[in-house]
Symmetry: C2
Subunit: 193 residues, 2 copies
């Protein structure tokens, strides 16, 4: 019974490794304990259970994503910032497929921390979209559209749904370009009225 110096952080890190390398469904307390050279009940000294661990992973993922998005837009604005953020988003989902998946479907709230982290991401998107001077409703519609596009693209890419013989990267470029154009179009229409 050599003490192995476990802590919440190490557990989460290892769980994320499993999730990203072997898939989210491979994250079990049993596999985790094996990888940490520990018996699975020992994990309960640090976590409440599997559901709770997954929520912790989710929180970790949201914060990591937020950081990546923040860095991506540094010193940029409008189209350039929006584009950079979009690319950073899908890059994150490719670097962390398993972590990203749990990020979208945390089992339970953690003291409002999950909502907070998620809100901060939305706030960042709002910050970028402010450059486009959309009215309140259009702003919300546009946020929802951007999130739908990014999440849908990432999710479908990961599930292998884009099988056709044309570069997925080229498609993403096309989609983001067109999305940005379409935002500009919104304002042109308001001006006509």
């Amino acid at each position: 019974m050599v003490r192995v110096g476990l802590d919440l952080n190490k557990i989460i890190q290892t769980a994320v490794e499993i999730a990203d390398n072997e898939g989210l469904e491979a994250v079990t307390l049993a596999s985790l304990a094996r990888k940490l050279s520990v018996k699975s009940p020992s994990l309960f000294n640090h976590i409440k259970g599997l559901a709770s661990l997954k929520s912790e992973m989710s929180l970790y993922g949201l914060r990591l994503l937020l950081e990546k998005l923040k860095i991506s837009i540094e010193g940029k604005e409008q189209d350039e910032a929006l584009s950079a953020m979009a690319y950073a988003y899908v890059e994150f989902t490719r670097e962390h497929p398993g972590l990203y998946e749990i990020t979208i479907q945390a089992p339970e709230e953690i003291d409002g921390e999950l909502k907070k982290a998620s809100d901060e991401i939305v706030e960042l998107i709002i910050h970028v979209l402010k450059d486009y001077n959309l009215d309140h409703n259009n702003m919300i519609h546009t946020i929802r559209g951007l999130r739908s596009l990014l999440h849908g693209f990432s999710s479908l890419e990961q599930s292998g749904a884009f099988a056709m013989s044309i570069s997925v990267e080229e498609s993403f470029e096309f989609l983001i370009k067109n999305f940005i154009k379409s935002i500009h179009q919104i304002n042109k229409e308001s001006n006509i009225k």
Copy 2:
């Protein structure tokens, strides 16, 4: 041991009910057997196992979705057809949240039937998009964009990510309208060149 007259179809139907009412993760051979008044090993007379059952559900879901999409575009073309198809898609995900979820992530192929069903949906989208005279690459990009938008929107809606106080329905309307506009824009640009 009253014979209960089980068959593959009844099993799938019941599994779909559980998936839609209690969530996909509630679909277990144990819960399924309980609901069918049978012991779980009896299920193996009709299915190969849980993974196989989920693939069957996936196939059923893809076919149901395809039918719904086909019906939605009957007698329509271009913008009207595209819009109708988009609305039918999200309606399906709302009617069948659990079934839709498994539709996107079948565990294993069934004799190429899953790929075939999935291809047929893509073919239907192609059929609708033909009205826009896009070149081959733009066609594929646009298909991927539409699928991303629809799947992302549905997935985020189901996971409760659209929490802001503005009608989600209104946002969807906005997004589809803009997506359609953006397709028209593609061709305008080609003409300029």
